[in-house]
């Protein structure tokens, strides 16, 4: 890719919008995942008894178990959200950029 083409693409408003919206979304979702995971791991490190609280007075199931399962489901949901948006909105923008420089 030569400099001329790079500059042309960089000046394309669709490209600018693509970079801005996609990186914003990717960073937001990454932070969401990191915050949830590190909150979990730091709880284990510093206050493991918080996860050992029983869900009910007569059962042995601790709150740590549903929390663990929810984190797994949360991770999967995030990938679904990103894939859905990237495969429609972001790809449309990327295709518009490609079209504008004669790529398809």
């Amino acid at each position: 890719m030569n400099k001329e083409l790079v500059d042309k693409i960089k000046a394309n408003p669709d490209y600018q919008k693509l970079i801005k919206t996609r990186s914003g979304y990717a960073i937001k979702l990454s932070i969401a995942m990191l915050v949830v995971y590190f909150a979990f791991i730091l709880t284990i490190a510093f206050e493991p008894s918080a996860l050992a609280v029983p869900l009910s007075s007569d059962g042995v199931t601790t709150i740590g178990i549903p929390i663990g399962i929810i984190i797994i489901i949360f991770a999967f949901t995030l990938t679904g959200l990103y894939t859905k948006r990237a495969n429609s909105e972001f790809d449309d923008l990327a295709n518009a950029v490609k079209k504008s420089v004669g790529e398809n």
Binding site: K3, F40, L51, G68, I72, F76, T79, D91, A94
Partner: protein
Amino acid sequence: MVNRIFLFLILGSIAAFASGTIDGEIVKQELNVSAIVMFLIFVGATLGITYWAAKRTKSAKDFYTAGGGITGFQNGMAIAGDYMSAASFLGISGLVYLKGYDGLIYSIGFLVGWPIILFLIAEPLRNLGKYTFADVASYRLRQTPIRTLAAAGSIATVILYLIAQIVGAGKLIQLLFGLEYEIAVILVGVLMILYVTFGGMLATTWVQIIKAFLLLSGATFMAVAVMAHYDFSFNSLFAHAVDMKGIEVMSPGGLVSDPISAISLAVALMFGTAGLPHILMRFFTVSDAKEARKSVFYATGFIGYFYILTFIIGFGAIVMVYTNPEYLDVAKQAISGGQPILGGKNMAAIHLSHAVGGDFFLGFISAVAFATILAVVSGLTLAGASAISHDLYASVFKKGKADGQAEMRVSKMATVGLGIVAILMGIAFEQQNIAFVVGLAFAIAASANFPILFLSMYWKKLTTRGAVLGGSLGLATAVMLVILGPIVWVDILGNAEAVFPYKYPALFSVTVSFVSIWFFSVTDNSQGAKDEQVMFEAQYVRAQTGIGAEGASEH
């Protein structure tokens, strides 16, 4: 040449059979006919696939990426197949069996790297690379030093991961057939070499897909059978487990005993996943970024579901295997007391399959576990061989001027070499918990591969000097801390106290890596560094839009 090596290997393994010493310690298991029949069906079917794939594997691109025409769903299954390894299935269910909740902590750590890979890595990786992640890391940096380092990181990761898989394989076959551990390991190594050399990525992918399907089905059946036993009440299952092993199994325990270990493990698993060469390589088997994203979406779903199943399976093993005299290792109990199970804790899931489904289902799960190991070691070996042939031979040694056929030949020879190394290391590591060995592989992937890959994609000021010095320091730190840590220094080398007190070095080694890459990049004032920074713009545009990306080959 290659044929001769095969012949040598096969003769070698026969010789090993013949000269096997009998030292009276071997616990011969009863032959399980249904297991053996299903083993043979699987081996036959995979050899059929390999034959089919071999005919379609003509170019280097076919060999490394199956021609780039795998769909997102197929690749998602195959990635899940790569990830749902023997270490995951046997190791994590064994860990849940041993320590309860701690196993879930491990699983979650293994999973949460995936969303991050999708958001930050998958698309630029697919848009910039061709066969290996080193293609991306060296896109605008100097080929020779970057490729050499990336190959070193890849090979180290692959060999450690191979150890974990092959240890599982040896124990499994030992348990099923009553073969000596060493011979079982040699057999797996030889079979693996045959699959990869002839079938390349296409055979590896389809073996992964089929195995992922079988494993998910088998694990689902086991989990449902366990839950049905307790009227689908988790409370009732957990209550029985607590009766057996005490309340400790319901909450975080000794696995991550201090804050540093906990954070270090988290860093290793999260960034390590994004630095595993056999996983990264899978992104080149799909046609474009859209399919690459779908791959991660499906893979995360399958893997997450699988980890929930292994959690149930581990608890199932606590209630159905732990005190069951049928699975008790009487010889071991006489020496060390307690409730040791035949084949060690990593066999908990295998025994459970027998407890819930009898001999036939034991046969099925054993065959699936065997398939899992073969598929994963094939993927690993292919990634390691690619690092040797594509990065070292074609790019470093031949300066990018190797022809595809010669490159493929080198790749096949590298496969044989890696197979032999895997066999030797598998024998040396017999007594280690295989989930921990994988942890070590992750530390290296997180400290050497991931920082270089990630910064090459996103940080304009990265220079060759920074990447090479920083990445090497990260790699060296990870390896050194692993050697000085409790697993190698105390458990293997027999020293009294570890020099480095933590089992998981990633927090330190990843920090060393990032900080030194940063330092040696920003202090690099050479002309080369300036040129590399200028080239970032074009690389970034390609990474973001896919313009100029490698497409699927026409077949």
